[in-house]
Symmetry: C2
Subunit: 232 residues, 2 copies
């Protein structure tokens, strides 16, 4: 991998955010695994946690390669991600699984969109990291199985999923305000699209573009709810 | 890998014990990582946890290969290992690190000795798993650094290390009583040695041989204490 255009400050923000998010996913899945009802599921969830840790190492390595202090790059995102985790503390194993699935899903859609706007090396790295995250499907299966046994859980878990998304969007908006360079990267795609459509600058700021992007992130959410056997 | 002599019930016990121990190490290191004082150390400890999880997968895979239900093979060891963990609950991050280092060390010596008595495939697998565990040296460094900053901690941590070993030997003795097939495997080496020395059966039971093996396990412990900057 080469340095080249990857030293874009927006890309460094993206890698720092993703690295800290993967470290957080490791801890969340390790917690889930500790609570798992069977030894077999415990081992499977611990395996998912280890995979997230490998992603973290890959992203951290890329930051080192770019000559950036990886902990410095992660630091701005510790607050918002920790806040999201604290504001959405699961009260049961099922709530924890839904959080993992919804969280990974929204994050995945987000990183994919942003990576498409970054340099080639970053795009490939992020896509590699996310491809493995597909293993989260295992989590959806666990939720479906639990709902088949007790369908009355569906209502409460659907509300829980909605709250998870709401809190995530709120933290993401805060990040966009604090990190204009990252917001500019997010808005890049939007701007190009706007220009092509209207053949002129729309005059909208990056933040509005970012908001529209966030709105589009909730589209995949409905499909994920269905995969878990939940309604919107 | 072939089935062959690996279906020895003592070897299945060994693999089940080691697999559950590695799963436990994963959770212990993930907990340590969660408590780590810096983002950098957090990531490093999470990396060690992920390595233990890979070992768990390898051992579990070997049990599946041998046509054994891996969770059934682990089940007899859940109680003793969980008891050890409950009886040695760390009260601080440093105690937790010492527990990890002492625990990994004794367990490593034990598995190496037993693996030498098992079939070739098992021996190679166990040695591969343990080679990577050497990364635990990182943990010793963390303890040393903390002791350099505050040497008064050494006395309390030395007592803590002694208690960890005592509790481990006590649980190991219980396992040896409950699992005669594993004890027989442990005693295999002893018996051969006895025979060569005395040119006759010493008449000692497997349990006495196992006790002598456990006694020899504490030898490496002194070196590990020194590595952490602690006294015996």
């Amino acid at each position: 991998m080469t340095q080249g255009p990857s030293a874009d400050p927006g890309v460094i923000d993206l890698l720092g955010l993703l690295a800290y998010a993967e470290l957080g996913s490791f801890f969340r899945l390790a917690d889930d695994a500790g609570l798992a009802p069977s030894l077999r599921t415990k081992g499977q969830l611990a395996g998912l946690a280890a995979a997230e840790q490998n992603h973290y190492q890959a992203l951290r390595g890329r930051l080192v390669e770019l000559g950036v202090d990886p902990e410095m790059a992660m630091a701005p995102f510790v607050g918002p991600l920790d806040s999201w985790n604290e504001r959405t503390e699961p009260q049961s194993w099922l709530e924890s699984l839904v959080k993992t699935y919804v969280g990974e899903g929204i994050a995945g859609d987000f990183y994919r969109k942003v990576a498409a706007l970054a340099d080639e090396d970053t795009r490939v790295l992020v896509e590699d990291v996310l491809a493995e995250t597909e293993r989260a499907e295992f989590v959806a299966e666990q939720v479906r199985a639990a709902l088949e046994e007790d369908p009355r859980l569906a209502g409460r878990l659907s509300l829980w999923a909605r709250r998870l998304v709401g809190e995530a969007l709120s933290q993401a908006q805060a990040v966009a305000v604090d990190r204009p360079r990252l917001a500019a990267l997010l808005a890049r795609d939007e701007k190009v699209a706007e220009k092509a459509k209207k053949a002129g600058d729309s005059g909208l700021g990056d933040l509005a573009a970012v908001s529209r992007m966030f709105a589009s992130l909730t589209e995949g959410h409905a499909a994920r709810l269905t995969a878990m056997g939940l309604a919107e």
